[in-house]
Assembly symmetry: C3
Homo-oligomer: 342 residues x 3
């Protein structure tokens, strides 16, 4: 059962509601008017609660679950407890995602424009915007309808934010143009100077950073992530990108559509990614590289060369993932054959 102190359950819903929302199929006959009270993980779920099963490492939790209802793959039906009502879906994780949005849709407890917020007279706010305490909105900012800015965040002059966005607390945004339905988590810093200077033996001279950050629609940006503005071109985040916490994107970086950037990744200046490319946690990408579409880079890898579409890489320096596995295999074999004692 979800913690009622923090989450407001919009249910219960009926079995038929869930089927209608997800297009899942019932395996066994069941009363379509059965009531589903809540969502729960397999190991805690009760009779009137809905769960999902897709990751095989949790097979025993699934087979022993008391969940009344569960989204499953067709092939996993045989592992289910006999009393469980199974909702077969080709993508149970997605069906569950739909269910979470049905029971617990986006919401905010910020109700209006806080009197303590500082909002420039030269800023333009759309309808139904909600602004938290001690927010600062400078001159010439434009924010579209239904966007929420949480407490203590700072929107610097000229920034444009689309509709239905949610900017959490303690965020700073400058020099940016941001699309609709964007979520920016607490503490993210967007649009500050990139790391730009010209060095010689006397030291470093600052290069003024004259590009901006352009963020598409339906983008999510993690807590305490930093995205520098362009040096003279722009830094660009394509539609539907998912960016996790503590990620660093350097100046002029360009992400295509729907890239997934896991926590603590760093992408150096001027590198470009295609669409649907996935970087695992703590990956580093050197500067001025072209990484294609549907590329997958294993966690902690270091990418130092261009990468073609659909490649899978691992290691530091990164090599094709099978090559990386072979490197590790050969290295351990080498150790074994060496008979060294410590």
């Amino acid at each position: 059962m979800v913690n009622k102190r923090f989450f407001l359950n919009q249910g219960p819903f009926l079995l038929k509601d869930l089927i209608a929302a997800t297009n899942a199929k019932l395996v066994r006959d069941a009363d379509l008017n059965l009531q589903i009270d809540d969502l729960a993980p397999l190991e805690n779920a009760k009779n009137k609660e809905l769960s999902f099963f897709v990751n095989r490492s949790y097979l025993s939790e699934f087979s022993n679950s008391n969940a009344g209802f569960c989204f499953v793959l067709e092939k996993d039906i045989k592992h289910a407890p006999s009393s469980m009502i199974l909702l077969v879906h080709e993508h149970p994780h997605k069906a569950y995602a739909i269910a979470t949005n049905l029971f617990y849709p986006n919401s905010s407890n910020i109700q209006d424009i806080a009197k303590t917020a500082y909002i420039s007279e030269k800023a333009i706010l759309g309808n139904n915007c909600k602004i938290g305490q001690f927010v600062v909105i400078e001159d010439d900012v434009v924010i579209s309808d239904n966007t929420i800015i949480e407490h203590n965040s700072v929107i610097k002059s000229g920034v444009i934010i689309g509709a239905n966005a949610k900017i959490h607390s303690n965020v700073t945004i400058s020099h940016s143009i941001i699309g609709d339905n964007v979520i920016i988590h607490p503490g993210a810093k967007i649009g500050q100077d990139g790391f730009g200077f010209a060095s010689d033996h006397t030291g470093h001279m600052k290069i003024q950073q004259l590009g901006i950050v352009r963020i598409g629609n339906n983008v999510e940006i993690g807590a305490n992530t930093t995205i520098d503005r362009g040096s003279i071109q722009d830094t660009v985040i394509g539609d539907m990108c998912q960016i996790d916490n503590l990620v660093q994107l350097g100046h002029n970086v360009k992400l295509g559509t729907a890239c997934v950037i896991v926590a603590q990744v760093g992408i150096a200046g001027s590198s470009k990614l295609g669409n649907f490319t996935v970087l695992g946690g703590q990956v580093g990408v050197a500067g001025h590289l072209n990484i294609g579409s549907q590329v997958q880079i294993a966690a902690q890898s270091g990418v130092v060369k261009d990468v073609a579409d659909k490649q899978k890489l691992g290691g530091s320096p990164a090599v094709p993932i099978r090559q990386w596995h072979k490197q590790n295999y050969c290295l351990n074999k080498l150790v074994k054959n060496s008979n060294i004692e410590e």
Copy 2:
């Protein structure tokens, strides 16, 4: 001598006070009423100042130190200058820790509840809480006695914080239940959405994150660290965990008691650690893993498999630490034998 601009010395103390507080033993006879004015590092300490020696890389600083008083291991007595008054302790570092808390106990220059703070009428504050400027405390927050919230921090609705906690500036906490004696350093972000979405070829659908963060007693959390709330289970930080700066803990991560998580570590979603486990700086732990108790992982390692209790690992992918040393040894030998020229 400690900088008086920033630190208020509660001393001087007498030699007998330090002995009483630490159970250290005197090596040589000394007047128990000798006055100790302050703490200092070995290389700067003066006649009336107290230092400690434990790390052998600083042996020459120890042997040449002018410190009047020093916590030492019994075996290091022979390296000490003849005029130094030696306080033998089996754990000099801990004795020194006690001394720091004697001379410079926890304090705060925040004296009361700032008039500029925004505190919901539906929040409950214990006795003697101190709240800084521009702090936001939303509805239904409960904070116990003697807890301090520093400037510009945000405590979102429903959060519970125990007694004697110190939340530094520019922190955001939501969806969390936090124990007693917890320290949260500036900029930490706790309880925001985990990185949760269901992906297919059309893009990514957000999965509402419905778990919370539970933090035990006597936990310390570093600056700009991020701890995501659970997806439907909870993220759990056990008692006495020490978490450094810029650490990322994904949704559903569970740390046992007294784990040490050094800076820039990332632990992916749903992985669990036992008790007294130590992760070195920049370590990455993949998702859904079970890491045992008293495990030690070398800095920058990448853990991709379950780890049994008391194992020591290194490398990426991580292997037993001796295997990692052998890998490096064999690799360098291979290079040597290859006679390649660049």
Copy 3:
């Protein structure tokens, strides 16, 4: 053309102004009174715009550029379009840096001391300081002339900041003495407790952190970077250091002059760097090490031993860079010779 929504162009300037400012030399005769309107990247620049060329990966952009004016190396003259007016400079990147500061000098839209700021009566502000909304400046802070503190930043008691500094939004600074002309980007946290405790089987005892942070002149510190104060010595950042985003500097770390610390680097407690040393992105440096001057460490390397001046290292554990390249070469050769199939 630079985005006029966000940047205020102080031009146009004449060709002779740029020559005077940079000491560049004209290759071909040209009217010294030609007007230069703006700066632009090679691929977008127009007739009256100025660009620069130095990175050979952009050779085709250079050869096909419509830029009217361009800083170039003498050896690249032959690749230039015939109509381009070439400004030869031995360091085109530096000449361009000068141009950016001419067209777009440092500026701030914060005009005075915000009425919402909380400034202690015991703080001392120099002439012409500008303080943003909801800034907190505690007792005994001293800030010199022309320094700007942006919104929602917190300057804790006793901190000293020099002249002409710019502290961006959502920054927290405590226990620090900071020089002139320093730039601190949004969200940086400076001066908090280092990761200090004494551990035994019962848990961890906090060691009060009694050193401070000393930052020299002309230092730049990136967004969401964390710099812990010393444990009893000080943490020291030398003049002209450039520190990127999300960097972690542990207690007692000492950087010499003009070091370059790229994003997501972590330096553990008590390690020291010389002058003009460069750490690539995501490098980790273990504690208590001495790293010399003019050292270069490749991205993602893990430094576990002292490093002499002018060494170049790579890998984890880090070895001389040629050794690292040889390791990778030999490892791939080993894989090739093994004929393993997966």
